[in-house]
């Protein structure tokens, strides 16, 4: 696929099965963000592939699996998973046969190669050390990011809206938006309960004056709190405001009035 051409079904199937190289995956992902036709076809292909998974012969659960799960949700423990064991992937050997090295004539060359390999080995070790440090740093950052996300989204987290004086807390939502990445996080508090079959829907109101863009559905918990974390949004939409409406549970193509919550981007 190049430029704005549509993805082929093969490309989308490989994308859905996550078997494409990173660059190709990124290219298709970028195209999908702006192409509703390919997103719809990807959903079709994913639906076809799901059938294969669903048709797997059903196996009984391991003894105690249900109890372990229920215990875990009751206690809110993050993970009981054992560290993943390394499962070796088949690797093609690139070593040459021993006959390659036979013969006195090659002895000197071997010495040079050995020294050279020693130097390379050291360089690789240094590189490996740097990579390990990088991985450690990235892991620490990821762990920190995960903790932040968990605190923000945990059902058990206490959320308090501070108001002046003794005014009762009003429905409030705070959207944090990064237009160039299409990244959005919404944290809403004190929302009113929804009628059955309804959902709150967030809308990005583009600064360009184009139609509002649906940015995700959400439901408040019993305390009126809801979060929406990184809904699929195209990158690059400059927003002048955000709005929340009540829609049917499957969402709407355009907002239904009234807008129950709204807020303008500072400076718009």
């Amino acid at each position: 696929m190049t430029g704005n051409e549509h993805n082929t079904q093969e490309e989308l199937a490989s994308y859905a099965m996550q078997s494409l190289p990173i660059e190709e995956t990124a290219s298709i992902r970028a195209h999908l963000q702006t192409c509703a036709t390919c997103r719809a076809e990807l959903a079709q292909v994913s639906g076809d592939l799901a059938l294969l998974g669903l048709a797997v012969e059903q196996q009984p659960l391991p003894p105690g699996a249900r109890e372990r799960f229920l215990k875990r949700i009751a206690s809110g423990v993050e993970s009981t998973a054992k560290p993943a064991e390394v499962i070796p992937m088949p690797v093609k050997s690139s070593l040459r046969g021993p006959s390659f090295w036979i013969g006195w004539g090659t002895a000197a060359a071997m010495t040079i190669v050995a020294v050279s390999l020693g130097v390379q080995n050291r360089a690789l070790n240094d590189e490996l050390h740097d990579e390990s440090s990088l991985v450690t740093n990235l892991a620490a950052q990821a762990s920190r990011a995960q903790q932040v996300l968990e605190v923000l989204t945990a059902p058990g987290a206490q959320r308090v809206t501070l108001t002046e004086g003794k005014a009762p807390a009003q429905p409030t939502a705070r959207a944090t938006y990064l237009p160039e990445r299409g990244g959005l996080i919404l944290l809403a508090t004190n929302l009113k309960p929804l009628p059955a079959g309804k959902a709150y829907e967030l809308w990005v109101i583009p600064a360009s004056g184009k139609a509002p863009v649906p940015a995700g559905l959400f439901h408040p918990d019993s305390a009126g709190t809801a979060t929406l974390v990184l809904p699929p949004l195209p990158a690059g939409i400059a927003a002048k405001a955000f709005g929340v409406t009540i829609e049917k549970a499957s969402g709407a193509a355009s907002p239904t009035l009234p807008i129950v919550l709204s807020g303008a981007v500072a400076g718009s």
């Binding site: 059938l51 998974g53 549970a249």
Partner: protein, 173 residues
């Protein structure tokens, strides 16, 4: 009770509702993970993580992403392949959107679906079956399948495309 209604209760923090979701789809999720990983311990880990994510963030699945059962199975497949290939998880669960092919809330419907898909797969030419198996259950790319089977890359692509077309036709209303 409809999956959507059970999920509404999960969103309210109802553990009984979450147990209901687990009872409906635990076996399907575990079975696909076991089929790929061939290790009961790892398959259970994958299953537990996925259901825990649903519990912690039930909004990650919304109506319009297909049926809940199919969505869970696709996420299980992707997580298992990640583990098999020792990759970091390559997508967030939110990324998976699939067109609804069926409602799996009832066991009878699920069983009928299993039978139908198995028949469609059985009727495929052996080479198409093999290519789909390697792609879906082993997570191999087209090039890796070509290398493993010794078939030309174009042939592998054609086989997978034809298998998908047959599968889609069989489930068209």
């Amino acid at each position: 009770m409809d999956d959507g209604l059970v999920l509404e209760r999960v969103r309210q923090g109802d553990q009984t509702a979450m147990a209901e979701i687990f009872d409906r789809y635990g076996r399907a999720v575990y079975s696909v993970a076991l089929r790929i990983l061939k290790d009961a311990g790892h398959a259970e880990d994958v299953m537990q993580e996925i259901f825990f994510q649903v519990w912690r963030n039930s909004d990650s699945f919304v109506q319009g992403r297909g049926s809940l059962g199919a969505w869970l199975v696709v996420v299980a497949r992707n997580r298992s392949i990640d583990l098999l290939r020792r990759r970091k998880p390559t997508d967030s669960v939110d990324d998976v959107v699939l067109a609804a092919k069926c409602n799996l809330a009832s066991e009878a419907e699920h069983n009928a679906l299993i039978e139908k898909v198995q028949q469609v797969m059985k009727d495929l030419p052996a080479e198409q079956q093999k290519s789909m198996e390697l792609a879906f259950f082993e997570g191999l790319s087209h090039s890796e399948i070509a290398e493993k089977t010794g078939d030309p890359l174009g042939t592998v692509k054609t086989r997978i495309r034809l298998a998908l077309i047959t599968l889609r036709k069989a489930f068209q209303p």
